[in-house]
Symmetry: C2
Subunit: 147 residues, 2 copies
DNA sequence: GACGATACTATTAATTTGAAAGTAAGTCAC
DNA sequence: GTGACTTACTTTCAAATTAATAGTATCGTC
């Protein structure tokens, strides 16, 4: 057991949280994956104050999770589309959702299905090498520049 | 494309975020998985103000992610241990970390290895049924009480 | 030219967070 | 048995963030 600091400089989790560590950002990303692209769509879906939404969209855009794209010249209008980094956030969202379903379920929740074969999607995190579910095998943590 | 509200009532992601939707909570959970259990260990590791830490630990405890356990009667001292729900948050943390490593990497980051066979752990989210990586197949979203 | 849609900005109040210091219960060193 | 130290907080107050509401700018339609 150590009580050493796992600082932001070396922790990949802390890195991520610097960029999408608040609930609004994650909810915006969720809605973007659901196909929303416009300011007012996000605003209505989330019930978020416009000031907040402006700031969050700007931050997510600066950070490269979303990109602004003009969809009309007259009037000048822009929409927000997911970048590759934003699209690759989907597995994170699914895992967050899987936990919520298991531990905070109850009541009717949205469900996700494989559109091709119709089975319900149950997201699990596995180690790509061993195929084992994360958390089922002992983990060794190695700090940078350690053997 | 819809712009229907995916409300907190039906979204498993929103559910999760209600309980651990801020960076401090996730970082506390990360440290708890790393073996930290005590107030001062968390405080030193995170550089968090004690007021914040008190509140976050209380919230995580109320929500059933951590539990307080007495480890000394004289003086009376308590430590914070992960519950089952807290332990099952590990896959979420790993996915957050995997994203951060891929998109916000650079520099030396902590790495995780399978303690038994020594291979580096690379977490990926897959559908338990099809085995396909999340995001590689089209998804159909079904609202509650829909066909 | 009034009305509505879209995408915001401005203003201000309420809430949350952060920094610093203090407290309480007990241990340990001499 | 007194003074220093440890652990786990609480108190206080300033600073920053967030929320609520209203307003603005540009254009298109009737």
């Amino acid at each position: 057991m150590n009580d050493e600091n796992i600082s932001k400089d070396v922790c990949p989790i802390a890195r991520s949280l610097t960029f999408a560590g608040d609930a609004w950002s994650l909810l915006i990303l969720r809605d973007a994956h659901a196909g929303l692209t416009r300011f007012d769509q996000f605003r209505k879906s989330l019930g978020i104050a416009p000031t907040m939404l402006t700031r969050r969209l700007a931050t997510l855009t600066e950070e490269g999770l979303l990109e602004k794209q003009r969809y009309s010249e007259h009037p000048p209008r822009e929409e927000y589309l997911l970048t590759a980094a934003g699209r690759d956030f989907l597995p994170v969202l699914f895992m967050i959702g899987a936990w919520g379903r298991q531990y905070r379920g109850g009541g009717n929740l949205v469900r996700f299905f494989d559109a091709e074969n119709g089975t319900e999607i149950k997201a699990v995190a596995v180690d790509e090498v061993t195929g084992a579910k994360i958390g089922t095998r002992p983990i060794r943590t190695v700090m940078p520049n350690e053997s």
